[in-house]
Assembly symmetry: C2
Homo-oligomer: 259 residues x 2
DNA sequence: ATGTCTTTGTGAACGCGTGCACAAAGATGG
DNA sequence: CCATCTTTGTGCACGCGTTCACAAAGACAT
């Protein structure tokens, strides 16, 4: 759903539905937790509850991977962890670069989930010369002049963009030109990439706006049945054409400091 | 898709499909950019290109809001900005609390996109006493002991959780008990909430794993037709039950420092 | 006023994802 | 070896979302 490409060819890769792929990491996390508690097997019912999904859906998802369960018993936790890891490509080592080491970039660099699952932060890159050499999460930041060389020397195919919105597309272009074929974009912009390159987007502002929509709906349903609703400071309605002036100083401020 | 509730009642709220709601912020961003450039009208084709979607989809989306376009001309930018803002509830003032002021929490607090669109960071909350009083993004961090009072005093209905995984559910419970009905969760955990509370999840690790899947598939298709693929350091295959030991020190490390 | 041209709004078909419900498969006990 | 019980794997139906394709609507020129 968030592949970002305008013309996604319904990538039912080797028969595994996109929706299923999106849930595999969820299952993997639940299974890893069980594995740590040395639980040998789980039923689809239990695992589904742990992952927060329907048990029928889970069984169907697993059926795309093959028949890894035992009827009357359930699934072997260790075996399933391995199969899902392999399916997701996590048995490989994926070097990743993070471009734009502001607040968010630093948070990502410090994110433990990277290292623990086949991902390795190969380099941190920022356009600010003052950042160069400064260690973040134990890794020295490199200047973006060296971006292409870094990509090629490390065989990087996955890039994370955490720059301001304005810098995102140029950075994206350089990443792609240097050989990156998968991009995780945190900048609030639509990225244009050539075919064959995957883009996934994470947008904090959008998530909040969706929440606000539902929140407003809730408040509307309970309308004046309680006084404890949200601070209903409804702004005055603009007269058909004067809305954007008070919309904010800038369309969408980047999630990070200038890179 | 990420509402989080196990049993989502297909919330076709007032006839607006969930998928459409998820795209409205995208349109709004593109429209705001046009508005800043003082563009008076746009066609569905132009706007769709800017938002990265199909033009027919865009028109259908707008049709759920009403007939705001003029045939032969297009849509009035300012008017549409207002209509979408109103539909999303962004003409209201939404006080938001961020719980867990680690790297990620700080990045969120500094995120300009919050303030610019009806969202106001009402408070930053952390469990670490050493953080209390320390200003982050110009706002002093408050201790989580005061969580309930902060929520109620500010009429907060939207909470952002950026704590470690272990702390997320307890924090969530306290937020809900204090009156929060919408939660944006950055912790890598499935949150359980009562009916009527919306949860949206943002999970960096999952996004990366989905990218890795597609990346692996690409590499598999080009299999040994080039040598420049990803660093294909395929780990040795475990003998059916020994996978989780090298899976990483901890199931899923929180995105932030302990709160 | 009339015709042409552009662009919207939407009816209809299609495909994907979800969930039910059940048969098949294997474990387990006697 | 047979009966019973549990749990998987899946056929099927349904609903949502996407896309095509076109008629209706308005602008604009003559």
């Amino acid at each position: 759903m968030a592949t970002g490409r305008t013309h996604r060819p319904a990538t039912r890769s080797r028969g595994i539905p996109e929706a299923t792929v999106a849930r595999l990491p969820l299952y993997l996390r639940a299974l890893t937790a069980l594995s740590e508690r040395s639980v040998p097997t789980v039923s689809s019912e239990e695992l589904a509850a742990a992952a927060g999904v329907n048990s029928a859906k889970l069984r169907k998802d697993f059926s795309y991977l093959g028949s890894y369960g035992t009827r009357g018993v359930g699934y072997d936790v260790e075996y399933l962890v391995y199969q899902i890891s392999r399916e997701l490509g996590l048995t490989q080592d994926w070097p990743v670069v993070i471009v734009g080491i502001g607040n968010l970039g630093a948070a990502l660099a410090n994110y433990g989930g990277f290292a623990s699952r086949g991902f390795r932060v190969a380099a941190l890159i920022d356009a600010d010369p003052a950042m160069a050499g400064k260690p973040v999460a134990g890794i020295p930041v490199q200047h973006s002049d060296n971006l292409e060389k870094i990509i090629q020397d490390n065989g990087v195919s996955i890039g994370v963009i955490a720059t301001p919105a304005g810098a995102a597309q140029p950075v994206c272009d350089r990443l792609v030109a240097a050989g990156v074929t998968s991009i995780l974009n945190f900048a609030p912009t639509v990225l244009t990439v050539p075919d064959g390159v995957d883009v996934r987007k994470v947008d904090l502002s959008i998530e909040l706006q969706i929440l606000a929509f539902h929140e407003q709906r809730k408040a509307g349903e309970d309308a004046h049945t309680d006084g404890t609703g949200p601070a209903a400071v409804t702004r005055e309605e603009p007269t058909e054409a004067a809305a954007s002036a008070d919309q904010g100083p800038d369309g969408d401020v980047p999630a990070v400091m200038p890179a």
